[in-house]
């Protein structure tokens, strides 16, 4: 099945000292926690884009529909598509919250591990419009910076540019595991001494192309177009697929002694990470692959299954995905840890989901409660062996697992413990 390799190399503790998220249920801790406590959904009707919307069967989207005061100067925005706005905003938030010394930020010991699913589809769409235009003079309307705005690592390097960061850049773009990989790889960078701190996360902008892809795969929710807040429905017997969403989220990972020495507030400690591949089908969830990921993460953290109190499940609300994930959780953990599907609040924010679900979990760990899986009314009997969070549950959570799986057969699991001392 899998082999755990132990190497004698530098191993340092890695802590989270700042976080920020722009999500369909709010921007920042106060708004997000309020939405979680009130069971507020961020799923809204799909906006007409004048191109695909009319032909897409799913008419819902996890939407960021509130104004955000970016305050960016043109010298920064000239290389930014919408996705980079989200990325730079949350990255700026974590730097401000962290209180890191400007000298350290520029020292080369701070890196960026950040990406998105596609770069910027809005900019790519404009380029295609020009390509397919019959007016040949339109060719010059492709801007010199369109590539910088649309490339896959546009989020990471716009962050380095805006804040003068000179350390490593990792831009792992693996669909739904983009930001969980970003955080995991950043954790390993710091743990193994390659960097002392990393800004890590992901972002994805409003994009109907992604909806169309999942729609054609019959994976999108279509039965709740008139009641968007009733979908997605992870683990529910009446779930009918995922809902695409948008957002951006970042955490600051920092070496423990570095954080302690400067008196930083430690929100949590990343104690384990695992990432593997199913080694086969690029779409279907794979029980062996997912189960192995969960076990590898526990081994990396040197934890036992009984040590984990809460699992933030990937739980996209597809027919088979939730069942396979339930089986994997049951096989590894039994029914001891609480399980919730946080996508029920905002849909699947694609490359951002791992980072957002981590941050939501940090907020709940700090405030001592668990939010229930929204729209979970009648549990699918094939998912019923788990300890689902069904209502707001006031409880102390010491250790949380964040699980994410992606097209391409990529699986990730992050393990974090409450870091407040």
């Amino acid at each position: 099945m899998f082999t755990i390799v132990k190497r004698k190399i530098m191993q340092r503790r890695v802590v989270i000292t700042a976080c920020s998220a722009i999500t369909p249920i709010g921007y920042g801790k106060t708004d997000i926690v309020e939405s979680l406590r009130q069971g507020k959904s961020g799923v809204k009707p799909l906006r007409d884009d004048g191109l695909l919307t009319e032909r897409i069967h799913s008419k819902v989207f996890g939407t960021v529909d509130y104004p955000i005061d970016y305050g960016f100067a043109r010298k920064d925005t000239k290389t930014m598509g919408p996705v980079a706005y989200y990325a730079c905003k949350v990255a700026g938030d974590v730097l401000a919250e962290s209180g890191l010394d400007p000298e350290f930020i520029r020292s080369g010991r701070l890196g960026v591990s950040f990406s998105s699913t596609h770069g910027s589809p809005t900019i790519q769409r404009n380029i295609y419009k020009t390509f397919f235009s019959e007016d040949k003079s339109k060719f010059s309307s492709i801007g010199a910076v369109d590539y910088l705005k649309s490339m896959v690592h546009t989020t990471a390097v716009n962050i380095t540019r805006m804040f003068g960061i000179t350390g490593r850049v990792v831009a792992s773009s693996t669909a739904c595991t983009t930001s969980s990989q970003s955080i995991g790889f950043a954790y390993e960078m710091v743990k193994f001494g390659m960097q002392d701190a990393m800004i890590a996360g992901g972002a994805d902008e409003y994009d109907t192309t992604t909806v169309a892809v999942f729609d054609n795969l019959l994976a999108c929710s279509v039965d709740y177009n008139d009641t968007p807040e009733c979908t997605p429905r992870p683990f529910d017997v009446n779930r009918d697929g995922l809902v695409v969403g948008e957002g951006g989220a970042a955490v600051l990972l920092e070496e423990y002694e570095h954080a302690r020495a400067r008196g930083a507030t430690i929100l949590a400690e990343v104690v384990g990470f695992a990432c593997n591949n199913n080694g086969g089908d690029l779409i279907l969830p794979n029980l062996d692959g997912i189960t192995a990921t969960l076990r590898l993460a526990l081994a990396d953290a040197e934890l036992q299954p009984a040590d984990v109190d809460f699992i933030s499940a990937h739980a996209t609300a597809t027919k088979m995905g939730d069942v396979i994930e339930s089986q994997a959780i049951a096989e590894v953990y039994g029914n001891k840890p609480w399980v919730a599907g946080l996508k029920s609040y905002m849909g699947h924010t694609m490359g951002t989901c791992g980072a957002i679900e981590l941050i939501l979990s940090l907020y709940m760990m700090e405030q001592g409660f668990l939010a229930p899986t929204l729209n979970l009314e009648n549990i699918d009997e094939r998912c019923a062996m788990l300890r689902h969070v069904r209502e707001i549950t006031e409880t102390k959570i010491k250790t949380t697992a964040i699980q994410n799986f992606a097209f391409g057969g990529v699986n990730t699991c992050l393990l974090v413990t409450d870091g407040r001392e």
Binding site: R74, T79, S140, A144, V145
Partner: protein, 86 residues
């Protein structure tokens, strides 16, 4: 287009789209206004739009020696003259 009209148009573009503040004709574009290589390429696209025809590759390469707004105006006048003589 006269020199005055050209100057008015270019200054307007620099203020409205490149966020220049109080541009002077002899200001150093990079040092005084943070104008970089990306801006230069974008400005060339704006100039093409303004002139209504494409600037050749060779002419674009000549733009790399531009340092001031006066240089921009001289550059455009050179292109216009070459275009009119064709």
């Amino acid at each position: 287009m006269t020199r005055d009209e050209l100057q008015k148009n270019i200054v307007s573009i620099l203020v409205d789209e490149f966020e220049f503040e109080n541009p002077g004709l002899t200001d150093n574009l990079r040092d005084d206004h943070g104008f970089d290589s990306i801006d230069a390429i974008e400005l060339l696209a704006k100039i093409e739009e303004m002139l209504g025809y494409q600037i050749s590759r060779k002419e674009k390469e000549q733009a790399m020696s531009i340092r001031t707004i006066n240089d921009i105006l001289n550059y455009i006048e050179t292109i216009q003259a070459a275009h009119q003589s064709q």
